[in-house]
Amino acid sequence: MSHSARDWERPGLSERKKRIARAAIEAFLADREPADTGDGSGLVVPDAAWCERNVRSFDLHIGACSTLLRFALGMLVVLLEWLPIVIVGRASRMSRLSLEERIRYLEALERHRVSWFALLFIGTKLPMLFAAFEEGAPLASTGFDRRTTQTRRRLVIAANRGQNP
């Protein structure tokens, strides 16, 4: 039996938590139009399929953890949803904020002087983005010059062999 057939994958998030994760991932991965002046109007919503891949990866990641860690990470996701009122004074859930407001909220969380809030930020951001730049165009955007992360290094000696058989 191949390893892929043997690896059943267990989801770890409820649909509600997936919606929260999707909203956060959208903000983490939003970009600006090249000519944007920085007033927020030029924000580009990331590709939906890309966000969905990251939600799926995050879901499987949590599913691969022990019961206690699954519970803890689930709690972090819930906290991420409800903390805008504490962090940026907006009486709204994170997933209902506009993209620009979500980015501001997450930035404020990252730089918050209370270290627990910064930990909440990093504890959710990292697993949500583990897969974000792992393949395809996002991987290429890092400047990584191999086809995939599993591809072997292109050695100079191999190139020379190709030119001078």
Binding site: M1, H3, R6, D7, W8, E9, R10, A27, F28, L29, A30, D31, R32, D36, L43, S57, L60, H61, I62, A64, C65, S66, T67, L68, L69, I103, L106, E107, E110, R111, H112, S115, W116, A118, L119, F121, K125, L126, P127, L129, F130, A131, A132, F133, E134, E135, L139, S141, T142, G143, F144, D145, R146, T148, T149, Q150, T151, R152, R153, L155
Partner: protein, 525 residues
Amino acid sequence: MRSLFGGLARAPAARIDSDASIVHGRELSRGFRHRADVVVVGSGASGMTLAAILAEAGLEVLVLEEGPYYRHQDIAQFTPTQSLRRLFREAGMLTAIGVGQTPLISLTVGRAVGGSSLLTGGVCYRIPSRVHHEWVREHGLTELSEARLEAAYVEVERRIAVTEVPVDMRSLSTAKFVEGAEKLGISMKPLRRNTGHECEGNGRCNFGCPIGAKRSVDIAYLPSLLAHRGRVVSDAMVDGVIERGGRVIGVRGQLLGGAFGAPSHRFEVEASAVIVACGTVHTPGVLRAAGIRSYGLGRFLTLHPCARVVGRFDDALHGWDGALQSCFADSLDDDGTLFNSVYTPVNMLAASFPGVGPELHARVRELTHYGVFGTMVHDEAGGRLVPGIGREPTLLYEMAPRDLARLKKGMGVLAEMAFAAGAREVLLPIFGMTPLRTMDDTRRFAAEPLDARRLECLSFHPLGSARMANDRRRGVVDDSGECFEAPGLFVVDGSVLPTSIGVNSQVPIMAMATRLAWRLRDRLV
């Protein structure tokens, strides 16, 4: 009969329902009862090493591994996130909870056939002489002297092909930090790694070498184990021991990893010698299940806390091209700080950059310009393990103020190296911190107090939760690895190390397992 979770054991079926030498426990349709000369719980650097040596001596050895088995060819095809989910305990998110002024520390621990040896950067050190001397002089452990371990070191280094990393295998990321170090008068030395002369510098040793150059134990020892009288059952979690006449004579547990919702099956294995090699974090749980309450069990744990400093340079470095780890500096070794070259897979590096949205993307687009270097601290024993909810223990760690100061100093020195080599900005692993832009910023960082809870800290070498001692009042196992309180039960993994060692622990653990295996062989054969 004792169990980690209590409760009555169900009688398992008769025999292992497979003739394969590596049995995937998750595919078995029923449990089993088995008899072997030696049963080894855990298949990492220590367990596999010892199992192979005993099998080569003609003993029938059964290795039980909680995690799954993958061929190294399969592992080489995993993306980093697949590796995290399939090979790393807690999918790479195992964390030590900081007590007081201590950061949360993320631990890298393997959970697969091959254990953490699958996840190393291949770095091979011996235990420094001063640590050996301390163990002999202050702990009275003459068996752990440098001279007694010499033959075991030589044997291990031969089998895993330890060689010095040539200078031309260094990545440009590493070269930048080396350049900075030279300007500061810090000398860098080549690391030794277990890749022979086959390393191509693919830069992903810790997520599976694409060409199998890294001689982890699944490559260096497993084939020999299987060629002799050894077998491995993966997906088999031990949760209790079997005792008879006051002596441990076997283990029992359950098979994991079946289809979601499918019932798990029980197993029992009896043997003349029972070896526990579950690693520092999980061995105490098995020993507690055996009724052991020795002083120090689950306490005095050391982690070698590490921090990673990232610098942005004008040149494109493509830091992924080159040996993942290639050189080190021990100029602050007397102060308990080591600097090791390292790199991080691009997707992990990108995810860890500070910022959200456009700010994050701006850094990701410049990723080729970033170089990485690491620092590691020879720490005091501030960790302890307490039974958690479910099968994972909870790890608490209180960092000594001296260790925090060392870590901060190490990060400061790395930032200075980066600026000396021309870095435009340096990202310290401190959540929410503005990047350093100049050498003056580095000096200000050194002068200001550091809130440890904002520190992004890593650990790759948890050690010492079931310490070896020459007296049952001071430790858990004697100098042959046998538990004081449970005759017949041996421990061979990193948990027996009496103190932190200040260097990467794979070769020391394997050398100690080799020496213990030789002594056990003399008793059993």
